[in-house]
Amino acid sequence: MTLSLILQAIFAGVTNGIVYALVGMGLSAIFKGSRVINAMQGEFAVIGAMTTVLLLTKSGWPYPAAIAGGALAGALVGAFIEVAFVRYMALKNASEDSFLLLTIGLALTLSASVLFFIGRDGHLLPPIGGEGVVLVLDAVIQLHALWLVAIGIGATLALRAFFHRTTVGLSMMAASIDADGAATTGINVGRMRTYTFVLGGLLGALGGILVTPLISVDYTLGLNLTLKGFAAAVLGGLTNPLGAAVGGVTLGLVESLAIIGISSSYKDVVAFSVLIVIMILMPNGILGRAGRRGG
Protein backbone atom coordinates (compact mmCIF):
# COMPACT_ATOMS: atom_id res chain seq x y z
CA MET A 1 0.00 0.00 0.00
CA THR A 2 1.86 3.04 -1.24
CA LEU A 3 1.32 6.68 -0.48
CA SER A 4 0.25 7.43 -4.04
CA LEU A 5 -2.37 4.68 -3.88
CA ILE A 6 -3.84 6.20 -0.75
CA LEU A 7 -3.71 9.66 -2.29
CA GLN A 8 -5.43 8.35 -5.40
CA ALA A 9 -8.15 6.77 -3.27
CA ILE A 10 -8.63 9.94 -1.23
CA PHE A 11 -9.01 11.99 -4.37
CA ALA A 12 -11.45 9.54 -5.94
CA GLY A 13 -13.38 9.60 -2.67
CA VAL A 14 -13.60 13.39 -2.63
CA THR A 15 -14.70 13.42 -6.29
CA ASN A 16 -17.50 10.89 -5.73
CA GLY A 17 -18.27 12.49 -2.40
CA ILE A 18 -18.96 15.87 -3.98
CA VAL A 19 -21.44 14.29 -6.36
CA TYR A 20 -23.18 12.60 -3.41
CA ALA A 21 -23.02 15.94 -1.62
CA LEU A 22 -24.79 17.79 -4.45
CA VAL A 23 -27.56 15.18 -4.61
CA GLY A 24 -27.77 15.13 -0.81
CA MET A 25 -27.85 18.93 -0.54
CA GLY A 26 -30.82 19.03 -2.89
CA LEU A 27 -32.57 16.32 -0.90
CA SER A 28 -31.91 18.07 2.34
CA ALA A 29 -33.02 21.48 0.98
CA ILE A 30 -36.31 19.91 -0.11
CA PHE A 31 -36.78 18.15 3.24
CA LYS A 32 -36.03 21.35 5.12
CA GLY A 33 -38.45 23.38 3.05
CA SER A 34 -41.34 20.93 2.74
CA ARG A 35 -40.81 17.92 5.07
CA VAL A 36 -40.88 15.72 1.98
CA ILE A 37 -38.24 12.99 1.64
CA ASN A 38 -37.59 13.12 -2.06
CA ALA A 39 -36.97 9.55 -3.23
CA MET A 40 -36.58 10.81 -6.80
CA GLN A 41 -33.65 13.12 -6.06
CA GLY A 42 -31.33 10.87 -8.08
CA GLU A 43 -33.74 11.15 -11.02
CA PHE A 44 -33.08 14.90 -11.10
CA ALA A 45 -29.44 13.98 -11.75
CA VAL A 46 -30.54 11.68 -14.59
CA ILE A 47 -32.79 14.40 -16.05
CA GLY A 48 -30.01 16.98 -15.90
CA ALA A 49 -27.38 14.69 -17.40
CA MET A 50 -29.66 13.24 -20.11
CA THR A 51 -30.91 16.68 -21.17
CA THR A 52 -27.32 17.91 -21.43
CA VAL A 53 -26.35 14.83 -23.47
CA LEU A 54 -29.30 15.31 -25.85
CA LEU A 55 -28.77 19.07 -26.27
CA LEU A 56 -25.07 18.47 -26.95
CA THR A 57 -25.30 15.53 -29.35
CA LYS A 58 -28.76 15.85 -30.96
CA SER A 59 -29.28 19.62 -31.04
CA GLY A 60 -25.62 20.59 -31.34
CA TRP A 61 -25.64 23.22 -28.59
CA PRO A 62 -22.27 24.44 -27.29
CA TYR A 63 -21.23 22.59 -24.12
CA PRO A 64 -21.75 25.44 -21.59
CA ALA A 65 -25.22 26.18 -23.02
CA ALA A 66 -26.10 22.46 -22.88
CA ILE A 67 -25.04 22.34 -19.23
CA ALA A 68 -27.21 25.36 -18.45
CA GLY A 69 -30.08 23.67 -20.31
CA GLY A 70 -29.66 20.47 -18.30
CA ALA A 71 -29.60 22.32 -14.98
CA LEU A 72 -32.69 24.31 -16.04
CA ALA A 73 -34.50 21.06 -16.94
CA GLY A 74 -33.87 19.75 -13.41
CA ALA A 75 -35.20 22.98 -11.88
CA LEU A 76 -38.31 22.95 -14.10
CA VAL A 77 -39.15 19.33 -13.29
CA GLY A 78 -38.73 20.18 -9.59
CA ALA A 79 -41.16 23.10 -9.92
CA PHE A 80 -43.63 20.95 -11.87
CA ILE A 81 -43.65 18.23 -9.19
CA GLU A 82 -44.34 20.73 -6.43
CA VAL A 83 -47.12 22.52 -8.30
CA ALA A 84 -48.74 19.40 -9.76
CA PHE A 85 -48.60 16.95 -6.83
CA VAL A 86 -47.07 18.18 -3.57
CA ARG A 87 -49.25 21.31 -3.33
CA TYR A 88 -52.47 19.32 -3.77
CA MET A 89 -51.41 16.66 -1.26
CA ALA A 90 -50.27 19.25 1.28
CA LEU A 91 -53.71 20.88 1.05
CA LYS A 92 -55.24 17.51 1.93
CA ASN A 93 -52.87 17.11 4.90
CA ALA A 94 -51.29 13.98 3.44
CA SER A 95 -49.08 11.98 5.80
CA GLU A 96 -45.28 11.95 5.53
CA ASP A 97 -45.39 8.36 4.29
CA SER A 98 -47.62 9.27 1.36
CA PHE A 99 -45.18 11.97 0.24
CA LEU A 100 -42.39 9.40 0.36
CA LEU A 101 -44.53 7.04 -1.75
CA LEU A 102 -45.42 9.81 -4.18
CA THR A 103 -41.76 10.42 -4.89
CA ILE A 104 -41.09 6.66 -5.15
CA GLY A 105 -43.87 6.49 -7.76
CA LEU A 106 -42.44 9.48 -9.62
CA ALA A 107 -38.96 7.92 -9.53
CA LEU A 108 -40.33 4.68 -11.07
CA THR A 109 -42.18 6.71 -13.73
CA LEU A 110 -39.14 8.80 -14.64
CA SER A 111 -36.70 5.92 -14.81
CA ALA A 112 -39.21 3.96 -16.95
CA SER A 113 -39.60 7.02 -19.21
CA VAL A 114 -35.84 7.27 -19.72
CA LEU A 115 -35.78 3.54 -20.59
CA PHE A 116 -38.70 3.95 -23.00
CA PHE A 117 -37.73 7.17 -24.79
CA ILE A 118 -33.92 7.03 -24.68
CA GLY A 119 -33.15 3.33 -24.28
CA ARG A 120 -30.85 1.10 -22.26
CA ASP A 121 -27.55 2.60 -23.44
CA GLY A 122 -25.33 4.60 -21.12
CA HIS A 123 -24.23 8.05 -22.26
CA LEU A 124 -21.08 9.97 -21.39
CA LEU A 125 -20.40 13.70 -21.51
CA PRO A 126 -17.00 15.13 -22.49
CA PRO A 127 -14.88 16.04 -19.44
CA ILE A 128 -15.06 19.68 -18.38
CA GLY A 129 -11.66 21.31 -18.81
CA GLY A 130 -10.44 18.77 -21.40
CA GLU A 131 -8.97 15.27 -21.25
CA GLY A 132 -5.80 16.27 -19.39
CA VAL A 133 -4.47 14.77 -16.17
CA VAL A 134 -2.46 16.21 -13.29
CA LEU A 135 0.20 14.23 -11.41
CA VAL A 136 0.33 14.79 -7.65
CA LEU A 137 2.98 12.55 -5.97
CA ASP A 138 2.43 9.84 -8.62
CA ALA A 139 -1.34 9.96 -8.17
CA VAL A 140 -3.10 10.54 -11.50
CA ILE A 141 -5.91 13.07 -11.22
CA GLN A 142 -8.16 13.92 -14.14
CA LEU A 143 -8.51 17.60 -14.92
CA HIS A 144 -12.26 17.08 -14.91
CA ALA A 145 -12.16 15.88 -11.31
CA LEU A 146 -10.48 19.13 -10.27
CA TRP A 147 -13.20 21.11 -12.03
CA LEU A 148 -15.84 18.94 -10.36
CA VAL A 149 -14.38 19.62 -6.92
CA ALA A 150 -14.11 23.35 -7.63
CA ILE A 151 -17.68 23.62 -8.95
CA GLY A 152 -19.00 21.50 -6.08
CA ILE A 153 -17.32 23.68 -3.45
CA GLY A 154 -18.49 26.79 -5.31
CA ALA A 155 -22.08 25.52 -5.34
CA THR A 156 -21.93 24.74 -1.62
CA LEU A 157 -20.64 28.22 -0.76
CA ALA A 158 -23.20 29.82 -3.08
CA LEU A 159 -25.97 27.84 -1.36
CA ARG A 160 -24.75 29.00 2.02
CA ALA A 161 -24.69 32.62 0.87
CA PHE A 162 -28.13 32.18 -0.69
CA PHE A 163 -29.69 30.94 2.56
CA HIS A 164 -27.94 33.54 4.74
CA ARG A 165 -27.75 36.67 2.60
CA THR A 166 -30.59 36.88 0.07
CA THR A 167 -34.19 37.84 0.84
CA VAL A 168 -35.56 34.79 -0.98
CA GLY A 169 -33.19 32.45 0.85
CA LEU A 170 -34.03 33.95 4.24
CA SER A 171 -37.75 33.76 3.42
CA MET A 172 -37.36 30.08 2.51
CA MET A 173 -35.61 29.44 5.84
CA ALA A 174 -38.36 31.33 7.69
CA ALA A 175 -41.13 29.42 5.91
CA SER A 176 -39.51 26.11 6.77
CA ILE A 177 -38.91 26.95 10.44
CA ASP A 178 -42.35 28.41 11.20
CA ALA A 179 -44.85 28.43 8.34
CA ASP A 180 -47.54 30.38 10.24
CA GLY A 181 -45.12 32.99 11.53
CA ALA A 182 -43.65 33.43 8.05
CA ALA A 183 -47.13 33.82 6.53
CA THR A 184 -47.91 36.53 9.11
CA THR A 185 -44.92 38.57 7.98
CA GLY A 186 -46.13 38.39 4.40
CA ILE A 187 -44.07 35.48 3.06
CA ASN A 188 -45.86 33.37 0.47
CA VAL A 189 -45.20 29.98 2.09
CA GLY A 190 -46.55 27.95 -0.86
CA ARG A 191 -44.28 29.75 -3.29
CA MET A 192 -41.28 29.22 -1.01
CA ARG A 193 -42.00 25.48 -1.14
CA THR A 194 -41.98 25.65 -4.94
CA TYR A 195 -38.62 27.42 -4.82
CA THR A 196 -37.34 24.67 -2.53
CA PHE A 197 -38.15 22.08 -5.19
CA VAL A 198 -36.57 24.28 -7.88
CA LEU A 199 -33.41 24.42 -5.80
CA GLY A 200 -33.49 20.67 -5.18
CA GLY A 201 -33.95 19.96 -8.89
CA LEU A 202 -31.13 22.35 -9.79
CA LEU A 203 -28.64 20.81 -7.32
CA GLY A 204 -29.56 17.25 -8.32
CA ALA A 205 -29.20 18.08 -12.03
CA LEU A 206 -25.83 19.74 -11.40
CA GLY A 207 -24.61 16.61 -9.59
CA GLY A 208 -25.74 14.46 -12.50
CA ILE A 209 -24.07 16.65 -15.13
CA LEU A 210 -20.79 16.75 -13.20
CA VAL A 211 -20.64 12.97 -12.68
CA THR A 212 -21.51 11.99 -16.26
CA PRO A 213 -18.00 12.45 -17.70
CA LEU A 214 -16.87 9.87 -15.06
CA ILE A 215 -19.79 7.43 -14.92
CA SER A 216 -22.12 6.92 -17.88
CA VAL A 217 -25.72 7.93 -17.25
CA ASP A 218 -28.54 5.48 -17.91
CA TYR A 219 -32.01 4.77 -16.52
CA THR A 220 -30.67 2.88 -13.47
CA LEU A 221 -28.38 5.65 -12.18
CA GLY A 222 -31.18 7.50 -10.36
CA LEU A 223 -31.90 4.97 -7.62
CA ASN A 224 -28.22 4.52 -6.81
CA LEU A 225 -27.63 8.27 -6.55
CA THR A 226 -30.78 8.69 -4.45
CA LEU A 227 -29.47 6.12 -1.97
CA LYS A 228 -26.06 7.78 -1.72
CA GLY A 229 -27.55 11.28 -1.59
CA PHE A 230 -30.00 10.22 1.11
CA ALA A 231 -27.12 8.72 3.07
CA ALA A 232 -25.13 11.96 2.66
CA ALA A 233 -28.09 14.04 3.84
CA VAL A 234 -28.74 11.81 6.87
CA LEU A 235 -25.07 11.87 7.87
CA GLY A 236 -25.27 15.64 7.81
CA GLY A 237 -28.37 15.70 10.00
CA LEU A 238 -30.99 15.85 7.20
CA THR A 239 -32.29 19.36 7.81
CA ASN A 240 -28.96 21.03 7.13
CA PRO A 241 -28.02 21.24 3.41
CA LEU A 242 -24.44 22.21 4.26
CA GLY A 243 -24.22 19.23 6.60
CA ALA A 244 -25.15 17.11 3.59
CA ALA A 245 -22.03 18.42 1.86
CA VAL A 246 -19.87 17.17 4.74
CA GLY A 247 -21.86 13.91 4.80
CA GLY A 248 -21.38 13.34 1.08
CA VAL A 249 -17.61 13.79 1.19
CA THR A 250 -17.39 11.53 4.27
CA LEU A 251 -19.36 8.83 2.50
CA GLY A 252 -17.21 9.11 -0.63
CA LEU A 253 -14.00 8.85 1.42
CA VAL A 254 -15.23 5.85 3.44
CA GLU A 255 -16.18 4.09 0.21
CA SER A 256 -12.90 4.68 -1.60
CA LEU A 257 -10.67 3.96 1.41
CA ALA A 258 -12.61 0.75 2.00
CA ILE A 259 -11.54 -0.39 -1.47
CA ILE A 260 -7.87 -0.22 -0.40
CA GLY A 261 -8.48 -2.39 2.66
CA ILE A 262 -11.09 -4.79 1.29
CA SER A 263 -12.12 -5.98 -2.16
CA SER A 264 -13.68 -3.29 -4.35
CA SER A 265 -16.86 -5.31 -4.74
CA TYR A 266 -17.68 -4.69 -1.07
CA LYS A 267 -17.76 -0.91 -1.60
CA ASP A 268 -21.53 -0.59 -1.07
CA VAL A 269 -21.52 -3.06 1.82
CA VAL A 270 -18.95 -0.95 3.69
CA ALA A 271 -20.59 2.38 2.80
CA PHE A 272 -24.03 1.31 4.00
CA SER A 273 -22.73 -0.49 7.12
CA VAL A 274 -20.89 2.67 8.13
CA LEU A 275 -24.08 4.61 7.49
CA ILE A 276 -26.11 2.36 9.83
CA VAL A 277 -23.44 2.52 12.54
CA ILE A 278 -23.18 6.33 12.32
CA MET A 279 -26.97 6.70 12.47
CA ILE A 280 -27.11 4.60 15.64
CA LEU A 281 -24.02 5.96 17.39
CA MET A 282 -24.25 9.60 16.31
CA PRO A 283 -27.95 10.28 16.38
CA ASN A 284 -27.52 13.94 15.46
CA GLY A 285 -25.48 13.54 12.29
CA ILE A 286 -21.74 14.04 12.08
CA LEU A 287 -22.11 17.73 12.75
CA GLY A 288 -24.34 16.93 15.71
CA ARG A 289 -26.64 19.94 15.57
CA ALA A 290 -30.01 19.20 14.01
CA GLY A 291 -32.31 16.65 15.63
CA ARG A 292 -32.18 13.02 14.59
CA ARG A 293 -35.87 12.23 14.89
CA GLY A 294 -37.06 11.88 11.34
CA GLY A 295 -40.79 11.76 11.56
Binding site: I37, I104, F116, I276
Partner: protein
Protein backbone atom coordinates in the same frame (compact mmCIF):
# COMPACT_ATOMS: atom_id res chain seq x y z
CA UNK B 1 -81.16 -7.59 12.46
CA UNK B 2 -77.89 -8.86 13.87
CA UNK B 3 -78.61 -12.42 12.79
CA UNK B 4 -79.51 -11.13 9.33
CA UNK B 5 -76.14 -9.38 9.15
CA UNK B 6 -74.43 -12.54 10.32
CA UNK B 7 -76.25 -14.58 7.70
CA UNK B 8 -75.31 -12.10 5.02
CA UNK B 9 -71.66 -12.18 6.15
CA UNK B 10 -71.66 -15.98 6.11
CA UNK B 11 -73.15 -15.90 2.64
CA UNK B 12 -70.42 -13.53 1.46
CA UNK B 13 -67.74 -15.77 2.96
CA UNK B 14 -69.27 -18.86 1.31
CA UNK B 15 -69.39 -17.09 -2.07
CA UNK B 16 -65.81 -15.88 -1.68
CA UNK B 17 -64.63 -19.39 -0.75
CA UNK B 18 -66.44 -20.91 -3.75
CA UNK B 19 -64.89 -18.35 -6.11
CA UNK B 20 -61.47 -18.92 -4.52
CA UNK B 21 -61.74 -22.73 -4.95
CA UNK B 22 -63.04 -22.57 -8.51
CA UNK B 23 -60.73 -19.82 -9.75
CA UNK B 24 -57.62 -21.84 -10.75
CA UNK B 25 -59.76 -24.20 -12.86
CA UNK B 26 -61.56 -21.39 -14.68
CA UNK B 27 -58.65 -19.18 -15.68
CA UNK B 28 -55.81 -19.84 -18.14
CA UNK B 29 -52.48 -21.11 -16.84
CA UNK B 30 -50.68 -17.78 -16.91
CA UNK B 31 -53.40 -16.17 -14.79
CA UNK B 32 -53.23 -19.08 -12.32
CA UNK B 33 -49.49 -18.45 -12.20
CA UNK B 34 -50.09 -14.80 -11.34
CA UNK B 35 -52.56 -15.85 -8.64
CA UNK B 36 -49.81 -17.98 -7.07
CA UNK B 37 -47.57 -14.90 -7.07
CA UNK B 38 -50.38 -12.88 -5.52
CA UNK B 39 -50.45 -15.40 -2.64
CA UNK B 40 -46.67 -15.24 -2.21
CA UNK B 41 -46.68 -11.43 -2.27
CA UNK B 42 -49.58 -11.35 0.18
CA UNK B 43 -47.47 -13.28 2.71
CA UNK B 44 -44.46 -11.00 2.21
CA UNK B 45 -46.66 -7.88 2.28
CA UNK B 46 -48.46 -8.91 5.48
CA UNK B 47 -45.31 -8.46 7.55
CA UNK B 48 -44.66 -5.00 6.09
CA UNK B 49 -48.31 -4.12 6.65
CA UNK B 50 -48.02 -5.05 10.34
CA UNK B 51 -44.97 -2.83 10.72
CA UNK B 52 -46.37 0.08 8.70
CA UNK B 53 -49.99 0.00 9.83
CA UNK B 54 -49.53 -0.89 13.49
CA UNK B 55 -46.04 0.36 14.39
CA UNK B 56 -45.61 3.21 11.89
CA UNK B 57 -42.37 1.61 10.65
CA UNK B 58 -41.43 1.80 6.97
CA UNK B 59 -39.61 -1.47 6.25
CA UNK B 60 -37.56 -1.38 3.06
CA UNK B 61 -35.63 -4.58 3.84
CA UNK B 62 -38.17 -7.29 3.06
CA UNK B 63 -36.30 -8.45 -0.08
CA UNK B 64 -33.46 -9.45 2.27
CA UNK B 65 -35.60 -11.95 4.19
CA UNK B 66 -37.39 -13.00 1.00
CA UNK B 67 -33.95 -13.73 -0.47
CA UNK B 68 -32.77 -15.60 2.66
CA UNK B 69 -35.84 -17.87 2.49
CA UNK B 70 -35.41 -18.48 -1.23
CA UNK B 71 -31.67 -19.20 -1.00
CA UNK B 72 -32.15 -21.42 2.06
CA UNK B 73 -34.67 -23.51 0.13
CA UNK B 74 -32.49 -23.58 -2.98
CA UNK B 75 -29.32 -24.49 -1.08
CA UNK B 76 -30.89 -27.16 1.13
CA UNK B 77 -32.75 -28.94 -1.68
CA UNK B 78 -30.35 -28.55 -4.63
CA UNK B 79 -26.88 -28.44 -3.04
CA UNK B 80 -27.48 -30.63 0.01
CA UNK B 81 -30.29 -32.82 -1.31
CA UNK B 82 -32.29 -32.43 1.89
CA UNK B 83 -36.12 -32.54 1.97
CA UNK B 84 -37.91 -29.26 1.15
CA UNK B 85 -39.15 -28.68 4.68
CA UNK B 86 -35.55 -28.14 5.88
CA UNK B 87 -35.24 -25.22 3.45
CA UNK B 88 -38.32 -23.57 4.94
CA UNK B 89 -37.03 -24.13 8.50
CA UNK B 90 -33.43 -23.04 7.86
CA UNK B 91 -34.65 -19.91 6.04
CA UNK B 92 -37.10 -19.05 8.81
CA UNK B 93 -34.55 -19.57 11.61
CA UNK B 94 -31.81 -17.55 9.86
CA UNK B 95 -34.22 -14.74 8.94
CA UNK B 96 -35.68 -14.47 12.43
CA UNK B 97 -32.23 -14.58 14.05
CA UNK B 98 -30.93 -11.89 11.67
CA UNK B 99 -34.04 -9.75 12.19
CA UNK B 100 -33.55 -10.02 15.95
CA UNK B 101 -29.82 -9.22 15.92
CA UNK B 102 -30.13 -6.34 13.43
CA UNK B 103 -33.57 -5.18 14.54
CA UNK B 104 -32.46 -4.57 18.11
CA UNK B 105 -30.08 -1.67 17.22
CA UNK B 106 -31.80 -0.44 14.03
CA UNK B 107 -35.26 -0.14 15.56
CA UNK B 108 -33.94 2.49 17.97
CA UNK B 109 -34.05 4.86 15.01
CA UNK B 110 -37.34 6.52 14.14
CA UNK B 111 -39.16 7.81 11.09
CA UNK B 112 -37.14 8.39 7.94
CA UNK B 113 -33.91 7.31 9.60
CA UNK B 114 -35.37 3.91 10.28
CA UNK B 115 -36.60 3.74 6.68
CA UNK B 116 -33.07 4.54 5.51
CA UNK B 117 -31.60 2.00 7.93
CA UNK B 118 -33.75 -0.78 6.48
CA UNK B 119 -33.00 0.44 2.96
CA UNK B 120 -29.28 0.27 3.72
CA UNK B 121 -29.78 -3.26 5.07
CA UNK B 122 -31.45 -4.25 1.81
CA UNK B 123 -28.61 -2.72 -0.23
CA UNK B 124 -26.01 -4.58 1.87
CA UNK B 125 -27.86 -7.90 1.56
CA UNK B 126 -28.31 -7.47 -2.18
CA UNK B 127 -24.56 -6.82 -2.59
CA UNK B 128 -23.71 -9.86 -0.42
CA UNK B 129 -26.09 -12.14 -2.35
CA UNK B 130 -24.18 -11.04 -5.45
CA UNK B 131 -20.70 -11.54 -3.97
CA UNK B 132 -21.19 -14.81 -2.10
CA UNK B 133 -21.58 -16.86 -5.24
CA UNK B 134 -20.38 -20.06 -3.49
CA UNK B 135 -23.67 -19.86 -1.60
CA UNK B 136 -26.07 -18.16 -3.99
CA UNK B 137 -24.67 -18.89 -7.45
CA UNK B 138 -24.34 -15.10 -8.01
CA UNK B 139 -25.95 -13.86 -11.21
CA UNK B 140 -26.03 -17.42 -12.60
CA UNK B 141 -28.28 -18.38 -9.71
CA UNK B 142 -29.33 -21.81 -8.54
CA UNK B 143 -31.62 -23.80 -10.81
CA UNK B 144 -33.48 -27.10 -10.59
CA UNK B 145 -35.21 -26.47 -7.28
CA UNK B 146 -37.73 -29.34 -6.99
CA UNK B 147 -41.48 -28.76 -6.84
CA UNK B 148 -43.02 -29.29 -3.43
CA UNK B 149 -44.24 -32.77 -2.65
CA UNK B 150 -47.10 -33.06 -0.17
CA UNK B 151 -47.56 -36.68 1.01
CA UNK B 152 -46.72 -37.94 -2.47
CA UNK B 153 -48.88 -35.30 -4.18
CA UNK B 154 -46.52 -33.25 -6.37
CA UNK B 155 -47.55 -29.59 -6.60
CA UNK B 156 -46.17 -29.21 -10.10
CA UNK B 157 -48.93 -27.17 -11.73
CA UNK B 158 -49.91 -23.58 -10.89
CA UNK B 159 -53.46 -24.77 -10.17
CA UNK B 160 -52.18 -27.24 -7.53
CA UNK B 161 -49.56 -24.95 -6.03
CA UNK B 162 -52.23 -22.23 -5.87
CA UNK B 163 -54.11 -24.08 -3.12
CA UNK B 164 -50.98 -24.74 -1.08
CA UNK B 165 -49.73 -21.15 -1.29
CA UNK B 166 -53.11 -19.66 -0.47
CA UNK B 167 -53.69 -21.97 2.50
CA UNK B 168 -50.33 -20.80 3.86
CA UNK B 169 -51.35 -17.21 3.07
CA UNK B 170 -54.66 -17.60 4.92
CA UNK B 171 -52.83 -19.11 7.90
CA UNK B 172 -50.48 -16.10 7.94
CA UNK B 173 -53.43 -13.69 7.63
CA UNK B 174 -55.13 -15.46 10.54
CA UNK B 175 -51.93 -15.22 12.61
CA UNK B 176 -51.57 -11.52 11.73
CA UNK B 177 -55.23 -10.93 12.63
CA UNK B 178 -54.75 -12.61 16.00
CA UNK B 179 -51.62 -10.59 16.66
CA UNK B 180 -53.43 -7.33 15.91
CA UNK B 181 -56.45 -8.37 17.98
CA UNK B 182 -54.38 -9.49 20.97
CA UNK B 183 -53.02 -7.56 23.92
CA UNK B 184 -49.83 -7.04 21.89
CA UNK B 185 -51.96 -5.51 19.15
CA UNK B 186 -53.44 -3.01 21.59
CA UNK B 187 -49.96 -2.14 22.83
CA UNK B 188 -48.81 -1.74 19.22
CA UNK B 189 -51.56 0.73 18.44
CA UNK B 190 -50.88 2.63 21.65
CA UNK B 191 -47.21 2.79 20.65
CA UNK B 192 -47.98 3.99 17.12
CA UNK B 193 -50.37 6.73 18.24
CA UNK B 194 -48.37 7.98 21.21
CA UNK B 195 -45.16 6.22 22.08
CA UNK B 196 -44.63 8.36 25.20
CA UNK B 197 -48.03 7.48 26.64
CA UNK B 198 -47.48 3.81 25.82
CA UNK B 199 -44.08 3.82 27.52
CA UNK B 200 -45.67 5.44 30.57
CA UNK B 201 -48.11 2.52 30.69
CA UNK B 202 -45.08 0.21 30.90
CA UNK B 203 -45.22 -1.01 27.31
CA UNK B 204 -41.74 -2.23 26.38
CA UNK B 205 -41.49 -0.43 23.03
CA UNK B 206 -38.11 -1.85 22.03
CA UNK B 207 -38.97 -5.50 22.47
CA UNK B 208 -42.44 -5.05 20.95
CA UNK B 209 -41.05 -3.41 17.81
CA UNK B 210 -38.35 -6.06 17.56
CA UNK B 211 -40.93 -8.84 17.89
CA UNK B 212 -43.07 -7.48 15.06
CA UNK B 213 -39.92 -7.04 12.95
CA UNK B 214 -39.05 -10.71 13.59
CA UNK B 215 -42.59 -11.77 12.58
CA UNK B 216 -42.24 -9.66 9.43
CA UNK B 217 -38.94 -11.39 8.62
CA UNK B 218 -40.55 -14.80 9.17
CA UNK B 219 -43.32 -13.98 6.67
CA UNK B 220 -40.72 -12.66 4.22
CA UNK B 221 -38.63 -15.82 4.46
CA UNK B 222 -41.68 -18.06 4.10
CA UNK B 223 -42.72 -16.16 0.97
CA UNK B 224 -39.17 -16.49 -0.37
CA UNK B 225 -39.13 -20.28 0.11
CA UNK B 226 -42.53 -20.58 -1.60
CA UNK B 227 -41.21 -18.42 -4.44
CA UNK B 228 -38.12 -20.63 -4.89
CA UNK B 229 -40.22 -23.81 -5.13
CA UNK B 230 -42.60 -22.12 -7.58
CA UNK B 231 -40.12 -20.77 -10.13
CA UNK B 232 -37.44 -23.49 -9.44
CA UNK B 233 -34.69 -20.95 -10.18
CA UNK B 234 -33.36 -18.18 -7.96
CA UNK B 235 -30.78 -15.52 -8.80
CA UNK B 236 -29.64 -12.18 -7.38
CA UNK B 237 -31.97 -10.17 -9.67
CA UNK B 238 -34.98 -11.24 -7.60
CA UNK B 239 -33.73 -9.79 -4.31
CA UNK B 240 -32.63 -6.23 -5.11
CA UNK B 241 -33.56 -2.95 -3.47
CA UNK B 242 -36.21 -2.51 -6.19
CA UNK B 243 -37.93 -5.64 -4.91
CA UNK B 244 -37.94 -4.23 -1.38
CA UNK B 245 -39.65 -1.10 -2.72
CA UNK B 246 -42.22 -3.25 -4.57
CA UNK B 247 -42.98 -5.12 -1.35
CA UNK B 248 -43.50 -1.85 0.51
CA UNK B 249 -46.02 -0.77 -2.13
CA UNK B 250 -48.28 -3.78 -1.35
CA UNK B 251 -49.61 -2.52 2.01
CA UNK B 252 -49.50 1.09 0.86
CA UNK B 253 -51.66 0.53 -2.18
CA UNK B 254 -54.11 -1.76 -0.44
CA UNK B 255 -54.25 0.01 2.93
CA UNK B 256 -51.74 -0.88 5.63
CA UNK B 257 -54.12 -1.40 8.56
CA UNK B 258 -56.46 -3.72 6.72
CA UNK B 259 -55.56 -7.39 6.23
CA UNK B 260 -57.82 -7.81 3.15
CA UNK B 261 -56.13 -4.63 1.90
CA UNK B 262 -52.83 -6.54 1.69
CA UNK B 263 -54.46 -9.01 -0.72
CA UNK B 264 -55.77 -6.08 -2.79
CA UNK B 265 -52.28 -4.56 -2.84
CA UNK B 266 -50.74 -7.89 -3.86
CA UNK B 267 -53.30 -8.24 -6.68
CA UNK B 268 -52.46 -4.71 -7.86
CA UNK B 269 -48.71 -5.42 -7.85
CA UNK B 270 -49.00 -8.72 -9.74
CA UNK B 271 -51.86 -8.06 -12.18
CA UNK B 272 -51.50 -4.41 -13.16
CA UNK B 273 -48.01 -4.75 -14.72
CA UNK B 274 -49.23 -7.87 -16.54
CA UNK B 275 -52.32 -6.09 -17.90
CA UNK B 276 -50.34 -3.00 -18.86
CA UNK B 277 -47.61 -5.06 -20.55
CA UNK B 278 -50.12 -5.83 -23.33
CA UNK B 279 -49.77 -2.16 -24.30
CA UNK B 280 -46.07 -2.65 -25.08
CA UNK B 281 -42.94 -1.15 -23.57
CA UNK B 282 -44.80 1.88 -22.26
CA UNK B 283 -46.24 -0.27 -19.44
CA UNK B 284 -43.56 0.59 -16.88
CA UNK B 285 -44.32 4.31 -17.25
CA UNK B 286 -48.05 3.63 -16.86
CA UNK B 287 -47.41 1.53 -13.75
CA UNK B 288 -45.48 4.41 -12.18
CA UNK B 289 -48.29 6.83 -13.06
CA UNK B 290 -50.93 4.44 -11.67
CA UNK B 291 -48.97 4.32 -8.42
CA UNK B 292 -48.76 8.13 -8.28
CA UNK B 293 -52.51 8.34 -8.95
CA UNK B 294 -53.31 5.91 -6.10
CA UNK B 295 -51.08 7.81 -3.66
CA UNK B 296 -52.45 11.25 -4.62
CA UNK B 297 -56.14 10.37 -4.97
CA UNK B 298 -56.52 7.60 -2.38
CA UNK B 299 -54.35 8.45 0.61
CA UNK B 300 -55.65 5.48 2.70
CA UNK B 301 -55.10 2.99 -0.10
CA UNK B 302 -57.66 1.20 -2.23
CA UNK B 303 -59.41 -0.34 0.82
CA UNK B 304 -59.71 3.09 2.47
CA UNK B 305 -61.23 4.53 -0.72
CA UNK B 306 -63.67 1.59 -0.86
CA UNK B 307 -64.70 2.09 2.79
CA UNK B 308 -65.38 5.78 2.19
CA UNK B 309 -67.36 4.96 -0.95
CA UNK B 310 -69.49 2.49 1.05
CA UNK B 311 -69.95 4.97 3.89
CA UNK B 312 -71.23 7.51 1.38
CA UNK B 313 -73.67 4.95 -0.08
CA UNK B 314 -74.97 4.11 3.40
CA UNK B 315 -75.36 7.81 4.24
CA UNK B 316 -77.33 8.38 1.04
CA UNK B 317 -79.52 5.30 1.70
CA UNK B 318 -80.19 6.57 5.24
CA UNK B 319 -81.33 10.02 4.06
CA UNK B 320 -83.68 8.45 1.49
CA UNK B 321 -85.49 6.35 4.11
Amino acid sequence: MASLNLQRNLLWIAVALAVWAALPFLVPRNIADLLVFTGIYTIAGLGIGLLLGHCGIVNLAQATFYGLGAYASAYCTVMMGWPSITGFLVGAVISMALAYVIGRPILRLTGYFLALGTLALSAIASALFFEWDWLTGGTLGIGGIPKLDLLGFVLDRPSRYYFFVWIVAFACMWAAHNLVDSRSGLMLRAMRDSSTAAAALSVDLQSLRTRVFVVCALFGSLAGSLFAHHVSFVSTQSFTVDRSITFLLIPVIGGATSIPGIVVGALFITFLPELLSKLGDVHQILFGLALVAVVVLMPDGLMGAWDRFRARLVARGGSDA
